[in-house]
């Protein structure tokens, strides 16, 4: 991997760790979510810093370049996140609908 890309990746990872910590301190999510996201970013930093760590996995998956591996893993990760967000939004939408309807019906005297 090119050193320049590694530096950008590393800085990005550090920035995301900072954001994860900042929003945890603001109590935007619980310790469980904080731990999960910290694991993601620390793992990301480790791979960026020591790409040789994943060479074995890349060989098994027949992926030639580290950059290709990152792109593929990124797509899978984003797909997972989008699906999770979709489910969460739908769940919240249903709850909001129920509350709004309940308030509307109950407010009629």
């Amino acid at each position: 991997m090119i050193a320049g890309v590694q530096i950008i990746g590393f800085l990005f990872g550090l920035f995301m760790i900072y954001l994860t910590f900042l929003y945890y301190k603001r109590k935007e999510y619980n310790t469980k979510a904080f731990g999960a996201w910290m694991f993601v970013w620390v793992f990301f930093l480790l791979i960026v810093a020591f790409p040789t760590m994943i060479y074995g996995l890349m060989e098994t998956l027949k992926v030639q370049r580290t950059a290709d591996f990152f792109v593929m893993a990124g797509f899978l990760f984003f797909a997972l996140i989008i699906f999770y967000l979709f489910v969460s939004v739908k769940h919240m939408q249903k709850n909001v609908e129920k509350i709004v309807r309940k308030l509307a019906i109950e407010s009629e005297r």
Binding site: R101, A104, I105, E108
Partner: protein, 226 residues
């Protein structure tokens, strides 16, 4: 025009979802009151004076604290009516596209049926994009559900409380009209169509092109999931 017996009127509820309809709501309600003594308007968090104008007409007005969409507003009104003992529900729009004078025709057509669907006779005044969209959705409905309907997007409809309880839709927006049709197919309801006048008061309201695409995607999804 058929008259409605006073004794039957108490079981008939007209449900009108409304969003920013201060221009039309008073007239629509004045006319509707001639045919139904139970009218519920659901103000879907309008930014204008819709709520107060509807209240002034002496009908029941429910208010959504946030805007949810036509499907959700209609569902709120229907749920409320059912809670109050409604046996027959008439759903109509607040934008004066649906002539309240047609209410008796809906009630007559409902005899022996579970659902009555209004259909507009398409003419040159109807925006081309609406005509094309409607035709496309009608063909999709025929293909997916085997229902040969003349107008799948007309929101002027009437149904029994039993039918409503079964076909209570999930869609929050305009796709509720298609979901209702999907449920008619699913539960094999007895249905009929009656013609209603085609009135277009505002060009930029109602189902958009993107809504149309969303409706077709949803219809495929409902077909696969049922």
């Amino acid at each position: 025009m058929a008259e409605i017996k006073k004794s039957n009127k108490k079981n008939i509820w007209v449900v009108i979802p409304a969003y920013n309809e201060s221009k039309n709501i008073s007239n629509v309600l004045k006319k509707a009151k001639r045919y139904a003594q139970n009218i519920v308007v659901v103000d879907d968090s309008s930014k204008d004076n819709t709520y107060n104008l509807a209240k002034k007409e002496g009908v029941i007005v429910l208010s959504h604290i946030v805007n949810l969409g036509k499907g959700a507003a209609l569902k709120t009104g229907c749920d409320f009516a059912i809670k109050k003992g409604a046996k027959i529900l008439v759903a109509m729009d607040a934008d004066a596209q649906h002539d309240p004078n047609e209410i008796p025709n809906f009630l007559n057509a409902l005899k022996g049926n579970d659902v009555v669907l209004g259909y507009r006779r398409f003419h040159k005044k109807m925006p081309l994009i609406f005509r094309f969209g409607n035709l496309f959705i009608s063909k999709t409905t025929k293909f997916l559900y085997g229902l040969n309907l003349r107008d799948t997007q007309c929101g002027y409809r009437s149904f029994t409380s039993d039918a409503y309880t079964k076909m209570r839709w999930d869609a929050l927006d305009y796709s509720m009209e298609s979901e209702m049709i999907a449920n008619i197919g699913k539960y094999k309801f007895r249905y009929t169509e009656i013609p209603v006048p085609t009135i277009y008061s505002e060009k930029h309201k109602g189902t958009t092109f993107l809504d149309g695409i969303k409706i077709v995607i949803n219809m495929i999804f409902w077909r696969l999931s049922r």
